[in-house]
Amino acid sequence: MLVSIYRYNPEVDDAPYMQDYEVNLPEGKDLMVLDVLNILKAQDPSISYRRSCREGVCGSDGMNMSGKNGLACITPVSSAVKNNKLVLRPLPGLPVVRDLVVDMSQFYKQYEKIKPFLINDTPAPAIERLQSPEDREKLDGLYECILCACCSTACPSFWWNPDKFIGPSGLLQAYRFLADSRDTATQDRLSELDDPFSVFRCHGIMNCVNVCPKGLNPTKAIGHIRTMLLQRAT
């Protein structure tokens, strides 16, 4: 099988280029894309990519596989190959550090903006802050985000304004704290989001939903944030 990989080493290369490799895959087995990368790394140790848990939990190996963002470790080669060719590129829109490794600073900066921690100004109880099972249920589909950046880097609004638009991942997390019954900073959080960029740059094209490796729905969370803003202001 032909594997085409985006190569760029800023210390040596003037410009990025695509390098083709021929890989012999074992018969009768559907490897994951990360396995293919590991085979190639043995052939050519200069190929760079991030990986860690190799089971879709850490979110390190987010990349663009034949045009669709996803985690290489849980994407079967069979689903990523097009015309017997596998094209691997870094996540779109973020600066490339080397090969498939991108600089995620901009992504984390947006995450930082939404204050991704519980804020509660009431005195802490002796044991823990209790939550009803119903309230806890509201966090399902939100807390599972692993910050792999597949969604935000699939979003054109994030490509054009990564410094102003929080992006699907950050907004999913923003709603995770807005929806938390133990958080008391809801009004402050909403005030921070009421500008034409942070939330409202989302035009609901749902690229984020299409690529999320954890099957989450940032567009729905963004809709909930809009409703909260609207209810507060009308």
Binding site: S157, N161, L193, D194, D195, P196, F197, S198, R226
Partner: protein, 115 residues
């Protein structure tokens, strides 16, 4: 919070709401005009003229006209902040859009009232 001063209402929520309200007005107006033309295949000048002389139609048309201005301003403002990265170019484009919309509104009022 991202600060900016060139958007329509300076609040994302307000712009978003106005974009939707103006869209509803424009779709109602389009449906009405298309429906009217379909239901009156032998439309005469007098009939068309009397339709636009009615106060309710002038209000409806002015509402639609203002909606075009608001809707296109918010939309084109978004487009300009997405694709025009040089501040001078972006500000020029936004000013031009604002001017064109203002001209259309004034001109439209003249047409509607036959001034």
């Amino acid at each position: 919070m991202v600060t900016q001063i060139t958007s329509f209402g300076r609040s994302g929520l307000y712009d978003w709401m106005m974009q939707r309200i103006s869209a509803v007005v424009l779709s109602l107006y389009s449906v009405f005009i298309i429906g009217y033309l379909l239901l009156n295949p032998d439309l005469t000048y007098e009939q068309w003229g009397s339709l636009f002389e009615a106060t309710w139609m002038r209000i409806f048309s002015l509402l639609a006209l203002l909606s075009v201005g608001i809707h296109s301003w918010i939309g084109l403002w978004s487009v300009s902040t997405d694709y025009l990265k040089a501040t001078g170019v972006r500000f020029f484009f936004q000013s031009l859009c604002g001017l064109v919309m203002f001209v259309y509104v004034v001109w439209g009022v003249q047409v509607l009232w036959g001034l």
